[in-house]
């Protein structure tokens, strides 16, 4: 997030796109609702009429995967009606001309054919956005989990720059991150192209710095593989040994049959986890890890805030902290690492190596933590980025993009679009929430959410067992007939193995980020005749 959660209840305007915040980020959503009750406007852009729609001033119920057409059309109106922020565009950005050329084609009359939103509503939304500033744009995986996910993200940034909503309090582009520490795992360089603190692999200065710090020579200079490439490599033989730490890939990746074939192809698979799960079935070695609240450390949340995690109870049996396990393997492969606690790792190593974290030390994290960038030990942290239009790379660059449809769209054989995500009560594959007393009682099985209209046409009753199938697999699942879902759409989660949406999802990926298109594939639904 460029901005912070504590700006939410002060904001005057929100554009929430592809985010079912009340279920996926419930506490963040409470601050949005507080703002609305205090008079803020909320523009919701989402195919589903989920709970946040009750609070929306305007709801553009776009078709799945049409985000770019919709956003380009907003920008078309802003430019055509001369409503964009000229001062910001002229002084802080480049590429406006190219943007204008691209969005020229996306008149509301043209875009409506793609996104299904009435031209007048597109115009109204553009005018509201121009009238009330700044606006906080929030998105979640509804934006990223598409074959055009990267372009979707770029479009949201284009819009916010055009409106001059960057670098200000209560503005910005704010992805609400899915996992508690997905921001941190990125910051730590658990990515194939960057070292900790986003220092580029292949950059000679960065390489030299890390070689010296880690006391090694010749760090590899070419980018590594991303997860889908690793999985392909297991089958092709390019990857022989695979180390999975705290992920249940067998349930979370698209097309479970394909994923399981890939995992089964591993010559040597190490799983490090707190439970056996569907993925550990394929392991050759399973290493038992300490869980949350069983060791000290830090998480970094969506707003870049580093907060402490503390020990409440000891790990069971011989389970060990993950950092210790990695250190022990390094030792047995010939390297002695000095740091012997999470605190030593942070204070003595990574904060020294990552400039944006340099001022953050455990001693400073006793209260509310610190938000990076925090370059020095007297720096108070950074609530919002790009202050006064100062972008990391100098000027903000418009990157105009064209709309592209999802890789698989409904047809005669598979006439519905399946979109997937998380529900409130459970988390991912339920390895944790499924083992918490009471949570399974609140939600004990998967459902396929379908519209009243489709249920009516097909004669499907609430709670009736139906078959949902795609080109990759099929599941038997109870129908949940709901007003949330528009006609032509099926919505499912991936919490339960038996009717997991990932038996059906499409392993098609964004060409740059290799993010899978969890939000769109084609399915058929069938009544089960007795």
């Amino acid at each position: 997030m460029t901005n912070s959660f504590n700006e939410f209840d002060k904001a005057k305007m929100f554009l929430v796109i592809g985010s079912n915040m009340t279920e996926a980020h419930p506490v963040a959503a409470t601050f949005v609702k507080n703002a609305v009750l205090n008079g803020a406007e909320l523009i919701l852009v989402d195919p589903r009429k989920h709970r946040l729609a009750d609070f929306a001033t305007l709801h553009a119920q776009i078709r799945v995967g049409s985000d770019i057409a919709f956003l380009n059309s907003l920008m078309h109106v802003l430019i055509a009606e001369d409503l964009y922020d000229k001062k910001f565009v002229n002084s802080c950005t480049i590429g406006f001309k190219e943007l204008t050329e691209t969005v020229q084609a996306y008149s509301p009359e043209m875009a409506t054919g793609i996104c299904g939103v009435e031209p007048e509503l597109i115009r109204t939304i553009a005018r509201r956005l121009a009238a009330v500033k700044p606006c906080m744009l929030c998105y979640t995986l509804g934006i990223t989990e598409h074959t055009c996910g990267r372009n979707n993200v770029v479009s949201t940034a284009n819009l916010q720059m055009l409106l001059g909503n960057m670098g200000v309090e209560c503005g910005g582009v704010n992805p609400l991150r899915g996992q508690n520490n997905v921001q941190g795992a990125c910051d730590m360089g658990a990515l194939p192209n960057v070292f900790p603190g986003y220092q580029k692999v292949g950059d000679l200065t960065a390489m030299a710095k890390f070689e010296k710090a880690w006391n090694v020579d010749r760090l590899p200079g070419k980018n590594g593989l991303m997860i889908p490439q690793m999985m392909d490599g297991l089958v092709s033989g390019a990857v022989k040994g695979f180390y999975i730490f705290g992920e249940n890939l067998a349930n979370t990746e698209p097309d479970i049959r394909k994923v399981e074939h890939e995992l089964a192809s591993a010559e040597f698979l190490v799983c490090q986890d707190i439970f056996q799960n569907e993925t550990t079935r394929f392991a050759h070695v399973i290493l038992p890890a300490a869980a949350w609240s069983e060791n000290d450390g830090t998480f970094t949340n969506s707003e870049r805030r580093v907060s402490r995690v503390r020990t409440a109870s000891p790990p069971p049996g011989e389970a060990k902290p993950n950092w210790w396990i990695f250190k022990q393997i390094a030792k047995r492969m010939g390297q002695e690492w000095e740091s012997d606690s999470a605190r030593e790792i942070w204070d003595n190593e990574l904060s020294e190596l990552a400039p944006s974290l340099h001022g953050i030390k455990y001693a400073r994290l006793e209260g509310n933590g610190l938000q990076w960038p925090c370059p020095t030990e007297d720096h108070e942290g950074t609530c919002f980025l790009h202050k006064d239009g100062a972008f990391t790379c100098g000027l903000g660059q418009f990157l105009p993009v064209e709309w592209t449809p999802p890789a698989e769209v409904p047809d005669a054989d598979y006439p519905f679009v399946l979109s997937t995500g998380r529900r409130l009560t459970h988390y991912h594959t339920r390895t944790q929430t499924g083992r918490c007393e009471g949570l399974n009682d609140l939600l004990g099985e998967e459902t396929a959410d379908i519209s009243l209209a489709d249920a009516g046409t097909m004669g499907i009753q609430q709670g009736e067992l139906i078959r949902v199938k795609s080109r990759r697999g099929e599941v038997l699942v109870k129908a949940n007939v709901t007003r949330e879902v528009p006609s032509g759409m099926v919505w499912m989660a991936f919490h339960f193995r038996e009717a997991c949406a990932n038996w059906l999802t499409n392993p098609a990926f964004d060409p740059i980020t290799l993010t899978a298109e969890y939000k769109a594939c084609a399915v058929a639904i069938e009544k089960i005749e007795n």
Partner: protein, 376 residues
């Protein structure tokens, strides 16, 4: 122009719009409250915060009376204390407040206690014992509850849902839960129902919580000043006196809510939000508040496991497992080069774990084949 009032003989400046309570709190003068939920519109319903204002006819509720220039306020005068005692006596008589303070010398105590125990289905004192503002105030003002006869609640407790026990017999109708639900978390699940002596906090037409709009965030429990709302899992498993509070960060979504872990005998028995902390300001969701006990599951991995030839797993020592991993990795590197190894880190675990894993891959194995679910 500076404006001021007098509280307990001291002159304090204040800003227009501040209540007497806000001015007092700003100067560390404690006025007791029950129904007041900080930051929200005061309702003034419990009257425990009454203060004496010179020349005013009656006592004024500090939470909803605006400070005015020249006001002369006494927060603990004899009249104030007498009024608070009466309020507390009435509240204690209104339900199953069996904390041991009220009326313990009276003969009817045993009968009362036995009735409450049978309604609680437990032989212990109130589940909020030691964590109850009503009890604290009864102690502070040395109130005994034998002045008014105890009136049993007309409503049975709701035990039907798996997470929240609603005990109407201990509800003092302060309305904090209603505000927490409607104004803080804005889930709009509960409200006041019925009238007069039948008044009750109801969910969705007076049905059980799980058939209402309730999302089990538990904000109402955190707001409840008595034992009317308690976590089912923590009921009788927890007393503040023998519990340590440890601050940590929630392990679920990317908001990063700050939690208090209430730890008894090395075990988390309850979780609450850290008030005034960033980013959640005391709020939690159903997973944050109730999703902690997976760590105590019997299914936890407790020892390294190594797969046998026949596909089953056997237990192994750390030394064996670690050498096995290191040696296989070394062999793969020798045979196929470092890029034949790849690793996926965990976006749920701490930063220091991810740091060490990428360091293992880059500095030891010598490949950049390290990733995690960053883009999903």
């Amino acid at each position: 122009m500076e404006i001021s009032l007098i509280i307990n003989g001291h002159v304090f400046e204040f800003k227009p719009g501040q209540t007497i309570l806000e001015v007092a709190e700003a100067h560390d003068i404690q006025i007791p409250t029950l129904c007041h939920l900080k930051g929200l519109t005061p309702t003034g319903s419990c009257r425990i915060c009454v203060v004496e204002v010179e020349r005013a006819r009656s006592l004024m509720a500090a939470c909803c009376t605006p400070a005015a220039p020249g006001m002369d306020v006494k927060t603990e005068s004899a009249r104030v204390v007498s009024a608070r005692k009466t309020i507390l006596e009435l509240l204690l008589a209104s339900g199953n407040h069996n904390c041991g303070l009220p009326g313990s010398e009276s003969g009817s105590w045993s009968d009362f206690q036995l009735r409450v125990q049978s309604e609680d289905g437990a032989s212990e004192l109130c589940p909020a014992w030691g964590d109850c503002r009503l009890q604290d105030l009864a102690f502070r003002y040395q109130v005994k509850a034998n002045r008014f006869s105890n009136i049993p609640s007309p409503y049975l407790p709701e035990m039907k849902n798996p997470l929240i026990v609603r005990d109407f017999s201990r509800c003092i109708l302060c309305g904090r839960c209603v505000q927490a639900c409607n104004e803080v978390q804005v889930n709009r699940a509960i409200s006041f129902g019925y009238r007069g002596k039948d008044t009750k906090i109801v969910a969705s037409g007076d049905g059980p919580l799980f058939q209402s709009e309730c999302v089990f965030c538990g904000e109402c429990i955190q707001a409840c000043p008595t034992g009317a709302l308690v976590e089912k899992k923590a009921r009788y498993a927890w007393r503040p006196a023998d519990t340590e509070k440890i601050r940590t960060t929630c392990p679920y979504c990317g908001v990063g809510c700050q939690q208090w872990l209430h730890v008894r005998n090395g075990r988390i028995v309850k979780v609450t939000g850290v008030e005034n902390a960033q980013p959640n300001r005391g709020r939690l969701c159903v997973k944050g508040r109730f999703g902690y006990d997976f760590i105590y599951s019997e299914d936890r991995l407790k020892t390294p496991l190594v797969r046998e030839e026949n596909g089953t797993f056997r237990e192994a020592s750390w030394d064996e497992a670690l050498y096995l991993v290191a040696n296989r990795f070394k062999q793969i590197i020798a045979d196929h080069g470092p890029d034949a190894l790849a690793g996926v880190s965990c976006a749920r675990s701490i930063n220091e774990d991810s740091y060490n894993m990428q360091k293992l891959f880059r500095a030891v194995i010598k490949t950049n084949n390290i990733d995690h679910c960053a883009r999903t």
